[in-house]
Symmetry: C2
Subunit: 350 residues, 2 copies
DNA sequence: AAAATCAATGTTATCGGTAACAATTTTCTT
DNA sequence: AAGAAAATTGTTACCGATAACATTGATTTT
């Protein structure tokens, strides 16, 4: 590897001052054509580009945001990052991706890293709010010294930052109402881990909807399913094994599409026909929903739009002072065949 | 936002020199307990952490790698990034994700950005090698001034960098041989865009395998399918519509699992039973393969391991000089039900 | 008690770039 | 051609941290 060129190397080799090199690099006016050419040739020959560290140090700004997620291999978070990435790029900002090791906490190490990088803003997605309150407040406090903070979180969470709220109310209401309209009366929910506040929040909202419609909220219809396919399979097996056939639900609302995928597989293994014997609704509207068998009805929380809003607000907050407010983007139910809408109204309460 | 604290602020407020602050931050020995406590309190009160820009400038190293991919929403690239991220983290390195706008080129802007950031290394995934040769060599040349370069690419590509080769030979050979063993004689390939060298390389390898086994390499069995589900649907429709029923293939090898998913849907629409009427093999072994209907047999190129190797080599190359060599990780065929292996040997050559 | 040793802390040049201003040319006036 | 104005180009302090070295003060040695 050749020695990395600095602006001094370029200036010396071109026989000009560093200021002139800067002018040429930035395309500033007020440089004689001949000088510009001469300097540009030296720049090209050395593959020179000004060091970002030096620029950031000088300007005191990084022109970079951070997005903190549990895992980018999770399509939901990938959508969020992707959207944030391009929205920031449109505004001349880069985005750094930070993954959390333990899958949930907002650790002091991460806070430190964010501060060290002097980010212009940070967006948290994934359930940081289930961390210990004191730790969380402390982290927010520390971060707020240096940068605006945004978080995609359930409604009503107390967080001293820009809150982009997931529409968990509709996330539970839309599928339940839809299934109710189709004639379903025994509706089950297989939700994420009950240890997560996010998941239990969804579970609570789900139960509330059942009660509003006067439907049975049998605890046997509400089981922990984790966040993935295996969880979905196990949850269905556990739930149905524990119930006599005549008390089986006629519809299952799942925590997300992955859980739904697992649930579908397990139901098929148990000889159920979908959607005739059992309706299924997922959440996140991932790319494969139209391609599952049957095509999966799913709630779309519009993660990309939430991320876009978050980035916009962060960029605004860089300048101004307002730091704590919330934004909500309504969820949408995307109806496909797994909920059995095409079958028309039927009364499932045998 | 409070004024961001610098090491000078901390030093002044604690009544010590900057050197002592640095010592406390790093936990260096040789600081009196009382002094350490005093300084630490000021650090905590101000949520101070040393500026990375300043550190990088001083040390001349960024301790950061870059991973350049077309889109992180693509699960294959997400796996690569994820793996690179943690492998780098284990070695005290961070990883920056860069997405390419046009989905394939290694643009001068990206090269410039990489140099500006003074990355310690860069890993390219996605088909940069299909760019114009002159541009590509130029970009490599420029990058090599500043950092080691690695690329995940097809075998045999001429690239002046560390090449982590995808095992495209087996990627075509394994499914074709397997299907042949099961009795299939008319095997089709619906591949990525024919404009991409990667895709055409796979197509060529596929045809070669057919010839080696003495199977027909009818051009009608080889159609462009893009990279996603829609492409798979269209490709199947186009291929089968153009053929009389008796010349339909009995098996289809697809470019990747997404294309396979689309193909499966289209085949079902056309009334085909899978895998009895038609065997399908995908590629990438994505998470949903066990959950598709039928569960999808797929080739695994082990992207995570490739990324891990790439990062290791990049970290080694930081120190040493060797810069151009290649590594190959064998592909694996993961047999599930979509290829009909469970049905036993049958002769499909009606 | 003076000298030597060691522990704790301070000083300063430096990294690569930019901003603000200073200095030098060049071009234009009259 | 002298002086003014405009166009180029150069100089230097600074951004925040660290390394290398310098200094101070305390403790031990003789």
């Amino acid at each position: 590897m050749k020695k990395k060129a600095t602006i001094y190397d370029i200036a010396r080799e071109a026989g000009v001052s560093t200021a002139t090199v800067t002018r040429v690099v930035r395309g500033d006016p007020g440089v004689r054509e001949a000088t510009r050419d001469k300097v540009q040739r030296v720049i090209d020959r050395n593959a020179y580009a000004p060091s970002m560290s030096a620029q950031n140090l000088e300007s005191g700004r990084s022109k970079a945001l951070a997005v903190v997620v549990p895992s980018i291999s999770n399509l939901y978070f990938a959508k969020i990052f992707d959207s944030a990435y391009w929205e920031a790029a449109d505004n001349g900002c880069s985005v750094r991706l930070i993954q959390t090791k333990d899958n949930q906490a907002i650790s002091p190490e991460i806070v430190n890293e964010l501060i060290r990088c002097r980010m212009d803003g940070v967006l948290f997605a994934g359930n940081i709010w289930s961390a210990d309150r004191a730790d969380l407040n402390d982290a927010m406090e520390r971060l707020n010294h240096y940068m605006p903070v945004a978080a995609i979180c359930p409604p009503g969470v107390e967080l001293n930052c820009i809150r982009i709220e997931s529409d968990l109310l509709n996330c539970a209401r839309l599928p339940v109402r839809h299934l109710h309209t189709l004639g379903h009366r025994r509706i089950a929910f297989i939700g994420g881990s009950m240890h997560s506040k996010d998941a239990s929040h969804r579970g609570a909202t789900f139960l509330e909807q059942l009660r509003l419609l006067g439907l049975p909220d049998d605890p046997a219809y509400h089981v922990d399913a984790g966040y993935d396919m295996e969880g979905g399979e196990r949850a269905v097996l556990r739930m149905l094994s524990a119930l006599p056939r005549e008390r089986w639900p006629s519809a299952i609302v799942t925590f997300n599409d992955l859980v739904a995928l697992g649930a579908i597989r397990q139901l098929k293994k148990m000889g159920q026909h979908l959607p005739e014997d059992m309706a299924i609704v997922g959440c996140d509207n991932l790319f494969f929903c139209p391609y599952s068998d049957p095509p999966l009805t799913s709630v779309d929380l519009h993660p990309a739009e939430m991320a876009q809003s978050a980035v916009r607000e962060l960029l605004v907050a860089r300048e101004s002072a307002s730091r704590s407010f919330s934004i909500l983007r309504d969820a949408t139910l995307v109806v496909r065949e797994s909920c059995g809408a095409a079958l028309g109204f039927r009364h499932f309460d045998t």
